[in-house]
Symmetry: C2
Subunit: 481 residues, 2 copies
C-alpha cells in the first residue's frame, strides 16, 4: 500500500458520520431477494473454510517473489496471475498493457564517519536519483520531523545531508502511517529547497528492526533532485543519540539508481459476467506489483489472494451475479498508479456499482464503510448486517477504499466500498524485506475472504444502484498518487 | 553468547538438584556478619535505582558499535573499557594482551536459481572459508535437521549444497538454542564428510525476521573445509516450500572471507582490592567483543554494563570487600575463547572464590545457581535469601555460568555462580544486525545490576570458602569452545 496524506485527512474527516441515516428510508421495494441473502450466508461460511487465498499468496511469493513494476519478475507475475485466473474458471481473463516509467535500485551504502564511525542500514527511496559514484560526504543537519524542517528558515541545511527523524505511530488503521509518510514523500523537495546535498529519513515504520523501509518519494519541477534514503529505525536512534555529544555528525552516502526506464506492465482482469446487468461492474481489486526489497506477501499478495478467492467462491457455489463481478489486479500501485490511471481512462464510461481494494495486509476486517449515494444506504445497511457475524462493524458513508480504488473513486466519481483491516502490525513489515509469507495468519485471511465475498455478492444483487454519486465535494479532490 | 551442546547437556543433567542440602548444616560460626547483610540490602536497593549499566551499554554501542575480535573497533572497545573503568574509580585497571587468529567477513550473495529464481538473505558463519570467486552453483540437498544429515548414509549430499532446516525452539533458558546450535557448529564437517560443496543452514534463531544469524562454526583436520552460511528464517521457509514442487532446487552461493589473521586483543580487568584476603578473587565477567553484524548491545554490551555497574555500586557505597572483586571483560568470546583461555592460564594458581559471567542479554534474572563445595552451601543459601526480594529463586548446585566463566570453571576447577536470565527473546536478535540498544529494557537491566552486586558482595564477604572443588566428575569434561 502506498498512502498519501490527503487520503488520510479524508478518512479522519469522515470519522463521525455513521449509517443511522438509512433507517428512515422506505425498504419495501428496495429489499434484497431472500435467496440472495441466503446465498450470502453460504458464501460467508464457505469463505471461512476456504484455503484458496493463502494458497494463492503462497504460490505468488514462492514462485515469483519481488515484482517491482516493469521488471522481469513483474511480467512473470502477470503471467502467473493470468494462468491462475484462467485455472480458477473466470471469464474474460485478460492482461491489459500499462506503459510506465520504471525505477531500478542499485547498490547503496551509508555510514557515519564522525564523531563515531558506524555502518548504517539504509535503502534508497523509490525514484531517488543516484549520488556521484564516489558518494557524498557531508555533515548531517538533524530535524526531529518534517515540520521542523519546513519551519527552518535558516541556512542550516545548506551543503549538508538533511536527516529527518520522523516517528511513525502504531494505529489500528493506517492513520499513524498517514501522518508520518509525508516525511518520505516531501523530504527531497523540502531539503533541496534549502540547499541540502541529500536527504535521509528515519524509516516510516512501526518496527524496531534493522531493515529500512522503502517507498515512493517525489521530486518537483524546478527544484534540484537530490538523493533520498531511509535508514532503519535502530539506525535513526543511533544518529539521534549521536546528536547528544554536541559534535558534528558526518555521513558518507553512496547509492546507484536508475529512473525513467521505459517499460510495460499489465492490469490483470477477470470476470464473472452479470446475468441481468452485465454492463454494471462490481470491481474488487488488489495490486499485483510489489516493492523490490521483499516478496510482497502482505503488500499486496494478501489482497490478490483475498479478492480472487472471494470471487471464486461465487463460481464454486454456482452463483451467477446480476451485475458483473470484476477482479482487477492493478499494475504499479507502488510507484505511480499507472494501472489505476489506465483503468480509469479505459473504463470511464462504464457504470461501476462500486470500486473496492484490499491493500492493508492480512489483518482481520473490523469495519465496513461505504461511499454511495444516499438513496442506496438501505442496501448498505443490509450488507452491513450480513457482515456483522464476521465481527465487522458498520462505519461511515465516507469510505476510502484501497489506493488504486481511491484514485478511481476520485477520478471517475464512482461509488466505493471499504472493508477496513486491522493494520496494527502492517507497518512493521511494509516495504521491507520482511514482508514474507510467515507474517500472514491463514485464519485471518479466511475472514477477509468471507467478507469480500459477501460484500461483492450483495452489491452485485442489490436492488439499489450505488451511484451515480452527487457532484464531488471539493474535499475529495483529485487523485494524488 | 556462544554456547556448545556439551554445556547444555550439563545444565539439563543438573535440573533436579536443589539447595535443600544446606539446611542440615550448622550455621553458627559460618554466618555472615550482620553489617555485611545490611550492606547487601543497601546494594540491592541502590542497584534498582542505578542507571549506570544502561549508560555504559549506550556509550559502547553508540561510540564503538560492532567490535569483532582483532578488528580496529575491537581495539577501540578495549581503549573505551580501560577509560571507563579508570573513570569509575576501580583499581588495577589493565588490558592484558591476548594473541588470536581473527576471521574477517567479505561480500556474500546467494540466490535460488531453480525452480524459481529468488534472492536469499544470508550471511557467512564465523570461520567459513570463501567460495571460488565465481561462486558455487549446485543443487540443494535438503535435510530437516542435523540428525537427518547424520543419519544419511547415501551419496545424496555429494556434489551438492547441503541445506539443514534445523528449527530453534523458544525457551526461557538457552535450552532451545543449545539443542539447535549443533547444526551450526557441525554442519560443515558433516556435510563435507558426505562430499558436499558447501553447506547452508536455517539461522539458529527464534525470530521470523529477514536477518541471518551468524556464529562460529568449526572445521576438522583431515576433512575438506567447505563454505558455510546461514539463511534467514523466512528464506529457510522459502526453500522448504520449494521442496514441495518435487523439482531440483538449485542455489548459487558466492562469498568472500579471510581467516587466520594474526591479531591481538585484550582482556580488560579492574579490581576492588580485598581488605582481608586480597589474593582470593571474586570474578564477575562479561565479554567485550561482539560479532561484526551488529553493535552487540545484548551480546554482550548488557553484560559489560551489568557487571561493571554492580562492582561500581560497592565503590559508591564506600564498601571495601574482604576478598578482591575483579571485573573481567573477556576478549574474543565469540570466536575462540582466546581471552578466557589466556585468563585461565595466567591466573591458574590464584584462588577464585567463584567465577561468573553475564552473557544472555538483558532479561530479568529469575534464578540463582551455584557450583561450590558442599561445605559452602549455607553461604549460598544466605545469598539466595538476599536475592529473593528481586524475584530470584534458588536453583541447583550444578550451575553453568556464562561461556567464558564456564571454560574457567572446567579448566581450573574453580567454583562458579550463575544468575540465570530470562532469555525468551534473546535468540530473536542474537548474532544479527538487530542486536541494538532498543532491545534493552533499562528497568530489567537495573534488576540484573542489583542481583550481581548482592551476589558478588556476599561472596566476597562469605565466612565460607566456596572451593576448592572436589575432583572434577568426568561429565564436566574439558572446555569445548
Amino acid at each position: 500500500m502506498h498512502t498519501t496524506p490527503s487520503r488520510r485527512r479524508i478518512a479522519l474527516a469522515a470519522a463521525g458520520l455513521m449509517l443511522g441515516l438509512s433507517i428512515s428510508l422506505p425498504l419495501s421495494a428496495q429489499s434484497f431477494e431472500a435467496k440472495d441473502l441466503v446465498a450470502a450466508e453460504a458464501l460467508r461460511e464457505a469463505g471461512l473454510k476456504s484455503g484458496l487465498a493463502y494458497e494463492l499468496v503462497d504460490s505468488l511469493v514462492t514462485e515469483i517473489g519481488p515484482r517491482p513494476a516493469g521488471s522481469l519478475n513483474d511480467q512473470r507475475a502477470v503471467d502467473w496471475a493470468v494462468a491462475q485466473l484462467q485455472r480458477l474458471g473466470f471469464a474474460n481473463v485478460r492482461a491489459e498493457a500499462v506503459p510506465l516509467r520504471a525505477w531500478k535500485r542499485g547498490d547503496a551504502h551509508a555510514h557515519v564517519t564522525a564523531p563515531f564511525p558506524q555502518p548504517l542500514v539504509m535503502t534508497a527511496l523509490g525514484n531517488s536519483v543516484a549520488t556521484p559514484k564516489e558518494g557524498i560526504h557531508a555533515e548531517i543537519a538533524y530535524y526531529a520531523d518534517l515540520d521542523a524542517l519546513k519551519a527552518d528558515a535558516s541556512d542550516r541545511a545548506h551543503g549538508r545531508i538533511v536527516f529527518i527523524d520522523q516517528k511513525t505511530e502504531r494505529t489500528r488503521d493506517a492513520r499513524g502511517y498517514g501522518r508520518a509518510v509525508a516525511a518520505r514523500i516531501q523530504a527531497p523537495l523540502e531539503a533541496a529547497k534549502r540547499g541540502a546535498l541529500a536527504v535521509a529519513i528515519r524509516s516510516i515504520g512501526t518496527d524496531r528492526d534493522r531493515l529500512a523501509h522503502t517507498g515512493a518519494t517525489r521530486y518537483a519541477e524546478g527544484v534540484t533532485r537530490i538523493p533520498a534514503v531511509a535508514v532503519s529505525v535502530p539506525d535513526a536512534d543511533l544518529i539521534a543519540r549521536m546528536t547528544r555529544y554536541g559534535q558534528p555528525i558526518k555521513m558518507h552516502l553512496a547509492l546507484q539508481a536508475e529512473g525513467g526506464i521505459a517499460a510495460v506492465s499489465h492490469n490483470v482482469i477477470a470476470e464473472i459476467p452479470g446475468s441481468e446487468r452485465p454492463e454494471e461492474i462490481v470491481m474488487i481489486g488488489a495490486h499485483l506489483d510489489s516493492w523490490d526489497l521483499g516478496p510482497g506477501a502482505l503488500d499486496d499478495g494478501a489482497g490478490v489472494g483475498i479478492v480472487t478467492a472471494a470471487a471464486r467462491l461465487m463460481l464454486e457455489a454456482g452463483l451467477r451475479p446480476r451485475r458483473t463481478v470484476r477482479v482487477v489486479l492493478f499494475a504499479n500501485e507502488e510507484n505511480g498508479f499507472d494501472g489505476a490511471n489506465a483503468y480509469a481512462e479505459k473504463y470511464k464510461s462504464q457504470v461501476h456499482q462500486f470500486v473496492g481494494e484490499s491493500d492493508l495486509g492480512a489483518g482481520l476486517v473490523y469495519r465496513f464503510q461505504s461511499r454511495v449515494r444516499a438513496e442506496a444506504l438501505p442496501a448498505i445497511q443490509r450488507i452491513a448486517e450480513a457482515l456483522a457475524p464476521l465481527g465487522i462493524a458498520p462505519g461511515s458513508n465516507e469510505a476510502t477504499p484501497g489506493p488504486d480504488a481511491a484514485l478511481l473513486m476520485r477520478r471517475n466519481a464512482w461509488p466505493a466500498l471499504e472493508l477496513s483491516q486491522d493494520g496494527s502490525d502492517y507497518f512493521d513489515w511494509h516495504h521491507t524485506p520482511n514482508d514474507t509469507l510467515d507474517k500472514i495468519d491463514p485464519a485471518k485471511l479466511r475472514q477477509n475472504v468471507a467478507a469480500w465475498a459477501v460484500m461483492a455478492w450483495l452489491a452485485a444483487q442489490s436492488p439499489l444502484a450505488f451511484g451515480p454519486m452527487p457532484a464531488a465535494a471539493p474535499a475529495a479532490g483529485a487523485a494524488r498518487p
